[in-house]
């Protein structure tokens, strides 16, 4: 049997298209995909956190920290970076709210600010690394520290790539109130990255 052409029925077509496009209810399929992907990333970081906690328990919480002769961790800098990233989540959300209202101008503004804050975070992270005085091969604290913060930083970088794409598309006028799934998806990812950082910061810098 050869393939037959679909019978097109005018009545109910667009409702049907809407059903297919956005699924049987609410959340667009692309957002479902992003949410699931984020779930897998949460488990990835869970694995990394597990290595951190296991190593810390093995070494003993009292002796846990940078190796002999290296600087102590820079808590003030990390706190500033936390503030930057948290602020960027707010600005991201302002951007999402703007485009939901159809305000492309504000979307561009807030996305740009979020991108700048993200880049600032990364720069600060790299500066922190350069000041630390120990490396990934300097004992288990160094290994877990750099792995956890490093992979988080890589995810922030991925987020900035997404933000750049969103900004570029916004500047070409490709988003509207009705059609801006990419913005919602990137914002979800960005909030995830922020929440993970709060976990990283609390664990490494506050809990010690």
């Amino acid at each position: 049997m050869t393939s037959r052409t679909m019978q097109a029925h005018p009545a109910g077509e667009h409702e049907a298209a809407a059903v297919m496009q956005h699924g049987q209810s609410g959340m667009p399929t692309a957002l479902v995909g992003m949410l699931l992907f984020i779930a897998s990333e949460v488990m990835f970081f869970a694995g990394l956190f597990a290595t951190y906690f296991n190593a810390r328990a093995s070494v003993g919480a009292g002796q846990w920290g940078p190796p002999e002769g290296a600087h102590e961790l820079d808590l003030p800098l990390a706190a500033v970076l936390t503030a930057i990233l948290v602020a960027s989540s707010f600005t991201m959300q302002f951007g999402v709210w703007a485009i939901r209202r159809g305000d492309t101008g504000k979307l561009k503004l807030w996305t740009g600010i979020t991108l700048a804050l993200g880049a600032l975070f990364l720069a600060g992270q790299l500066y922190d690394y350069s000041e630390l005085g120990f490396g990934i091969s300097d004992g288990v604290f160094g290994t877990t520290f750099y792995t956890l913060t490093g992979f988080h930083g890589a995810h922030v970088f991925g987020g900035t790539v997404g933000l750049t794409i969103v900004l570029a598309r916004a500047m070409r006028g490709q988003f509207s109130a009705r059609n801006h799934v990419a913005v919602e998806a990137v914002s979800m990812y960005w909030h995830f990255v922020d929440v993970v950082w709060i976990g990283v910061f609390s664990t490494i810098y506050l809990l010690r």
């Binding site: 050869t2 298209a17 496009q21 790539v161 794409i165 799934v181």
Partner: protein
């Protein structure tokens, strides 16, 4: 030595079987048909080289990490091409997805032939 021999023998067998099966499937042929059209209003991407290209790029990047020299992060001859192709692939993927999304959204009020 025996390891390499096993490797090549396995590779040879695999290649022969692959080619045999592919030949059997492909030689069945069938009447030429028009390329399929998705149901109206549904966003279905068409055929694309990007998945193969991205996989090869990822494999190159991975091989670069596996074959690194003593003080390297990764083997540059493998990792750099891999990374470049990966980035180019991501760009192409986003652009293609973007293009198709817009077509679906703006094309759903006609019979889908406008492009």
């Amino acid at each position: 030595m025996p390891d390499t021999v096993i490797g090549f023998v396995l590779l040879g067998i695999v290649m022969l079987v692959v080619l045999g099966i592919v030949f059997a499937i492909a030689s069945r042929g069938g009447p030429a048909t028009a390329a399929a059209k998705p149901p109206r209003g549904v966003h279905m991407p068409g055929p694309s080289f990007l998945p193969v290209v991205m996989s090869v790029a990822a494999a190159l990047l991975g091989a670069g990490l596996a074959f690194r020299g003593q003080d390297q992060l990764a083997n540059p001859f493998l990792a750099i091409p891999g990374l470049l192709v990966l980035v180019a692939g991501v760009v192409a993927w986003v652009r293609a997805a973007n293009h198709e999304w817009r077509d679906t959204e703006h094309g759903s009020h006609d019979d889908g032939a406008a492009h």
